[in-house]
């Protein structure tokens, strides 16, 4: 089967949507679960920074990608989609599990695009890798919160 080729623009739109929906999701958690409000707000803010970092990097290096006729070959974005719709009656543990799944998929996505863009200017894979690390760190924090919540 022919490998699907995804334009740089499509990937950037995907990351923008990913970070926007993540920011909205964590803001929702911050309002619903007051005990960890600061943590969730910091995640929401970080998502906004991630979006700026990726978009800025792309806008500053697009000519390199274009002149190398670069596209993300074989990348299936749908693999990295996960729901951020939190049911009104969802409890804290359920919310944390959703968040962990979101971070797992996001981290995997960023690691994948970082690997795929290695042939371009180093700033591009570096930006993706940095966001992957940030999302990975969030996962650790969320896991600790979940462990603490389930201990009770």
């Amino acid at each position: 089967m022919e490998e699907m080729s995804t334009t740089a623009s499509a990937i950037i739109s995907f990351t923008e949507n990913l970070e926007d929906s993540s920011a909205r999701f964590y803001k929702k958690l911050a309002y619903r679960f007051a005990n960890d409000r600061e943590t969730f707000f910091s995640f929401a803010n970080e998502s906004e920074k991630n979006r700026v970092l990726v978009t800025r990097t792309y806008q500053e290096t697009i000519t390199d990608a274009l002149e190398a006729c670069f596209s993300f070959k074989g990348l299936d974005q749908s693999r990295y989609l996960t729901s951020t719709d939190l049911a009104p009656d969802a409890d804290y543990s359920t919310a944390l599990k959703m968040a962990i799944e979101l971070e797992d998929k996001a981290s995997e996505f960023y690691s994948c695009v970082a690997e795929m863009s290695k042939s371009l200017l180093a700033t591009i894979p570096r930006a993706f890798k940095r966001v992957a690390e940030r999302r990975g760190n969030r996962r650790s924090v969320l896991k600790a919160l979940l462990d603490k919540a389930t201990e009770k």
């Binding site: 334009t7 740089a8 623009s9 499509a10 806008q59 274009l66 002149e67 006729c69």
Partner: protein, 502 residues
């Protein structure tokens, strides 16, 4: 795939920007249509001779004060302009796609390349410095200073509506000159946006002017005694026979960057996968409407037997055709699309005429872009898919003339020397590339080939803002080129001072 939101929601009525005022033109009005949707997105005036004269007078009036403005203060306007361009990066890019047709990635690349020229011009306090030497004779010192000249005219092409005027404008104003820009009337919106930003950035009235229009505006610029120089990017017949000639007659400085027929040589040792990937963007990027586009791919049989050469030719052709056939064509605001339409119906008809001529003259049509297949439901008016001809020879019309569309010719040359002769047999000299692993051949290519922009394993030889955009033979008329240090020299007069104090 969803279409990105269009930034132009209603038909824009464009005005001239003269002496810091947005002025309604008395000239006729023409439509600017989005080539993908065929919907009118703007109305552009075809300005009168009086209007271009008024703009030149405003620029002339603004010159003395602007010239006296310290370079660092002029630079601050450029820094603010850059910031505004960054802030509106996405809007500017989508406008280019709407008015020209290129894909959104291509538009963003164009925006970035334009901004890079503004960035380079912000270095003017250093770039414009002269030099000096003490004691050239007893007690005598000599130094060189660079001074601005006055008003410059900038005539933009349709194929890069945002970027090309920025090859000149930032350097012109940074060095203390004032400008009148005539955008292409086919896609003038980007330049209007730039002028709006220049106004917001604090350029004084009259420093940066815009006059829309056609031939009479160009004639007005060429005839006006107060215009000290012209920067033009467009076709060779106009650049050579009108712009260059008239500037010579009237004593104006001139940069006329013109047409091209660019050759890409594929040597037997080339990395085929990477060569073909680079060739795709070279031949079909911007729908081939680029003076740096690849036109002919020459498969060179240096050191091969005839049979080996034929095998290589077939292999390269097959891979090239296969890759070209997969390019997704459609509206550039659709992020899945890799090639947009031609700028208008007339340009499509012109390219179609070349395809017919290629068939008539005996080239083998391997991929016929006239069979339009699009992503999305758009009128076919301006669209063509990639076209590939094999068995093209240098004497065929499609082998020698500039097509300015998504049409590739594949040629054969027995040896490196023959390939170089083919390049030199063509009157143009804009760009040429070689794909090889051999340093010796690459060095020979760079040394011998009479083209202004040489690529070694590069598909699009687009010089960065701090290098000149070069060109030779029928691709360039003038002495100094746009961008970088050459632009600084073009926009300044060198004055030598020799001094002694008694």
């Amino acid at each position: 795939m969803a279409i990105l939101e269009e930034p132009i929601k209603q038909v824009l009525g464009l005005k001239n920007y003269i002496g810091g005022e947005w002025v309604e033109s008395k000239g006729e009005i023409a439509d600017v249509a989005n080539p993908a949707t065929c919907k009118v997105i703007a109305k552009v005036p075809i300005s009168t001779r009086q209007e271009i004269d008024a703009a030149v007078e405003a620029a002339k009036e603004a010159f003395p004060d602007w010239r006296r403005t310290p370079p660092l203060a002029r630079t601050r306007c450029l820094f603010r302009l850059k910031e505004l361009m960054e802030e509106h990066f996405e809007e500017l890019s989508r406008i280019q796609t709407m008015e020209h047709g290129k894909t959104i990635d291509e538009s963003r690349g164009e925006t970035r390349r334009g901004i890079e020229n503004v960035e380079v011009a912000t270095g003017i306090p250093s770039l414009m410095m002269g030099y000096n030497l003490e004691d050239i004779a007893a007690g005598i010192d000599e130094y060189l200073i660079r001074q601005p000249l006055g008003v410059f005219g900038i005539i933009g092409p349709f194929n890069f509506p945002f970027m090309v005027p920025l090859w000149f404008a930032p350097y012109a104003v940074a060095t203390g000159n004032t400008i009148v820009v005539k955008p292409s009337s086919e896609d003038p919106i980007s330049q209007v946006k730039i002028a709006e930003m220049a106004e917001e950035a604090g350029f004084p009235p009259g420093v940066w002017n815009i006059v829309h229009g056609g031939r009479s505006v160009v004639s007005g610029m060429l005839d006006h005694p107060s215009i000290k120089g012209i920067c033009f990017v467009g076709s060779t017949p106009v650049g050579k026979d009108v712009i260059y000639k008239k500037c010579g007659e009237t004593g104006k400085r001139v940069i006329a960057q013109c047409g091209a027929k660019n050759y890409l040589l594929v040597m037997p040792d080339a990395d085929l996968e990477k060569t073909i990937a680079a060739s795709m963007t070279s031949f079909f990027g911007n729908a081939g409407q680029r003076c740096l586009s690849g036109a002919n791919l020459v498969v060179v049989g240096e050191g091969l037997s005839e049979r080996e050469h034929n095998d290589l030719y077939k292999k390269v052709s097959d891979v090239f055709v296969n890759a070209a056939s997969k390019i997704r064509v459609g509206y550039g605001l659709d992020e899945s699309v890799q090639m947009g339409p031609l700028r208008d119906r007339g340009k499509k008809e012109r390219v179609t005429g070349f395809i017919e001529m290629g068939v008539k003259e005996g080239a083998k049509l391997r991929l016929d872009g006239r069979n339009v297949q699009l992503v999305g439901d758009w009128p076919h008016t301006c669209f063509l898919n990639p076209t590939v001809f094999e068995e093209v020879t240098p004497d065929m019309t499609i082998g020698k003339e500039e097509i300015f569309g998504p049409v590739a010719g594949i040629m054969k040359a027995k040896s490196f020397d023959e390939a170089v002769d083919i390049i030199h047999g063509n009157p143009y000299g804009n760009a040429a590339s070689i794909f090889t692993q051999s340093g010796k051949l690459a060095r020979d290519f760079q040394y011998r080939v009479q083209c202004g922009n040489i690529g070694i394993n590069i598909g699009i030889v687009a010089p960065m803002a701090f290098f000149p955009f070069s060109g030779m033979k029928n691709s360039f008329f003038g002495d100094l080129h746009g961008q970088g240090q050459e632009a600084i020299r073009f926009f300044t007069e060198s004055k030598v001072v020799i001094q002694r104090w008694f």
